[in-house]
C-alpha cells in the first residue's frame, strides 16, 4: 500500500464520526521506483493532508527530508516535488496494520493488501 492511498483512507466502522487518519504501523516496507510525474504530484497537493503524510512517513522511517509545511512555491519547487513523489508513490507498506483512531478496530495488511472487511455488527 502506498502512502498516497493511506492519506486518502478513513475508517468506515459503524458509528465512527470522522475516522481520519487511520494509524499506520508497518513491519515491512519496500521501496519501488516509479516514474516521476510532476503534473500528478502538483494536483495531489490539494487533495492530501500534509501533516498526516509527513507524520506517517516519519513513523515508518522515510520522512527525513520533508519540511514541516508545504513551501509556498511548492508547484514549481522540483526538489520538494521529488521528495513528495518519493513518499507518495515509491514507499510501499507490505506488512503491518491500520488502526481506526476512534474504535481501535485493526485492519491487518498482508502482502501489501489491507483487509477492510467488516463484520456484521460493524456495518
Amino acid at each position: 500500500m502506498k502512502l498516497l492511498t493511506h492519506n486518502m483512507l478513513k475508517s468506515h466502522v459503524k458509528g465512527v464520526k470522522d475516522g481520519y487518519p487511520l494509524r499506520l504501523s508497518a513491519s515491512k516496507v519496500e521501496l519501488k521506483e516509479v516514474t516521476f510525474n510532476a503534473d500528478f504530484v502538483v494536483r495531489m497537493l490539494d487533495r492530501i493532508v500534509w501533516p498526516v503524510l509527513r507524520q506517517t512517513a516519519i513513523e515508518i522511517g522515510q520522512g527525513d527530508n520533508l519540511p514541516t509545511d508545504i513551501p509556498a512555491d511548492a508547484a514549481t519547487n522540483e526538489e520538494f516535488l521529488r521528495a513528495m513523489h518519493h513518499v507518495l508513490l515509491e514507499v510501499l507498506v507490505l506488512e503491518g496494520e491500520l488502526e481506526c483512531p476512534e474504535t481501535g478496530r485493526k485492519f491487518p495488511i498482508k502482502k501489501g493488501i489491507p483487509n477492510m472487511l467488516l463484520d456484521e455488527d460493524e456495518v
Binding site: M1, K2, L4, T5, M8, L9, K10, S11, H12, Y20, N37, D39, F40, M44, R47, L89, K111, G112, I113, P114, N115, M116, L117, L118, E120, V123
Partner: protein
C-alpha cells in the same frame, strides 16, 4: 452456463481455481480489456494526464492493467482474496484492498478523478448473507462513492439489463446524474450496457455505438462488423517498440513467468522483407 451471480457469493465463487482462469483464459482477458477501454473512453478524462482512479471489483487486476497502460494511478478493491493474490502475482501496479463494496467506500472526500467498475455491480443486487439487504447495500455504496469523488467527474460501469433499474435508482437517489449508454443496441451478441454517472455536475451522457459509424472509426468497444474486426486485428499487429518494452518490463516483474528475452537493438524492429 448459469451466471456466476447465481452460483455462490463472490468471495466463495472466485476461489483459487476461478482466479487462475482469469490469468489463462485469453477470451476472458480480451473481454475485460475491451470493457475497461470503453469505460475509460466514457469517463472522458483529460488527455495525456495521469489521473487518480478507483476500480471497484478489480479482481485479478486485468482492468487495472489497462489503467496502468493509460498512465493512471489507481486503487482497486475486491472482496475475493484469491483474485487479489493473483493480481499481486501478475505484478499489478495499483494499490489493492480486500473490501466489500456493499460496506461503502472508505476514502475521504474529493479523492478520485474517476471511478470504473467492470462487471461487479450486479453482485450488490444479491442477498448472499442473512443480514444483507441489497437496497441498503446499494445505497451505502453509491452515497459513500459520491462523497469520495472529485466533483464534476464521472463514474462508468458496464452492467446488465437484469439489474439496471435497481442500480440506476440507487445511484440517482445518492445524487448522481447521468444515464445509460447502450452500445450496439441491435445486436444480441455485441450489445453492451454502460451506466455513466456524474457527481456534482450535469454532464452530457456520451452516445452509444451503433456499428454504423464507418470503418475508419477506431472502436475500443465490442466488435460489430467484420470490417471493424479486421481493422482491429491490423491495429493490434503494429504495436510499437515502447509498447513491447513496457510489456517485457511487466513480464519480468511477474513471478513464475517464462524467461523474458533480453532487450537488444533488434527488439521491436521490423523483419527484413523476404524475396
Amino acid at each position: 452456463m448459469s451466471r456466476p451471480e447465481y452460483a455462490a457469493p463472490p468471495e466463495l465463487f472466485y476461489n483459487a481455481d476461478e482466479a487462475a482462469k482469469y490469468t489463462q483464459n485469453t477470451r476472458m482477458i480480451q473481454i475485460q480489456r475491451q470493457l475497461t477501454e470503453r469505460c475509460l473512453e466514457l469517463l472522458n478524462l483529460p488527455a495525456e494526464r495521469a489521473c487518480f482512479l478507483l476500480d471497484v471489483g478489480c479482481g485479478s487486476g486485468l482492468s487495472g492493467e489497462q489503467l496502468t497502460y493509460g498512465g493512471h494511478i489507481w486503487i482497486g478493491m475486491d472482496i475475493s482474496r484469491d483474485m487479489l493474490d493473483v493480481a499481486n502475482e501478475r505484478g499489478c501496479e495499483g494499490d489493492l484492498f480486500e473490501a466489500d463494496m456493499g460496506q461503502g467506500a472508505f476514502y475521504k472526500p474529493g479523492t478520485f478523478d474517476g471511478v470504473i467498475s467492470v462487471s461487479a455491480l450486479q453482485w450488490l443486487c444479491n442477498q448472499d448473507k442473512r443480514w444483507h439487504e441489497p437496497r441498503k447495500r446499494l445505497k451505502k455504496f453509491f452515497t459513500t462513492l459520491y462523497g469520495c469523488m472529485w466533483p464534476g467527474l464521472s463514474a462508468s460501469f458496464p452492467t446488465d439489463l437484469w439489474w439496471l433499474e435497481m442500480i440506476t435508482h440507487a445511484a440517482m437517489k445518492a445524487g448522481f446524474t447521468g444515464g445509460v449508454v447502450v452500445d450496439y443496441p441491435h445486436s444480441t451478441r455485441a450489445k453492451k450496457i454502460y451506466l455513466c454517472l456524474f457527481a456534482g455536475v450535469v454532464g452530457n451522457v456520451p452516445r452509444g455505438k451503433t456499428g454504423e459509424e464507418g470503418a475508419n472509426q477506431q472502436s475500443a468497444g465490442a466488435s460489430f462488423s467484420k470490417q471493424e474486426r479486421r481493422d482491429k486485428r491490423k491495429q493490434r499487429a503494429t504495436k510499437g517498440r515502447d509498447w513491447i518494452m513496457q510489456k517485457k518490463e511487466r513480464r519480468r516483474k511477474q513471478i513464475g513467468q517464462r524467461e523474458v528475452r533480453p532487450d537488444t537493438k533488434y527488439t521491436g524492429r521490423k523483419r527484413a522483407d523476404k524475396f
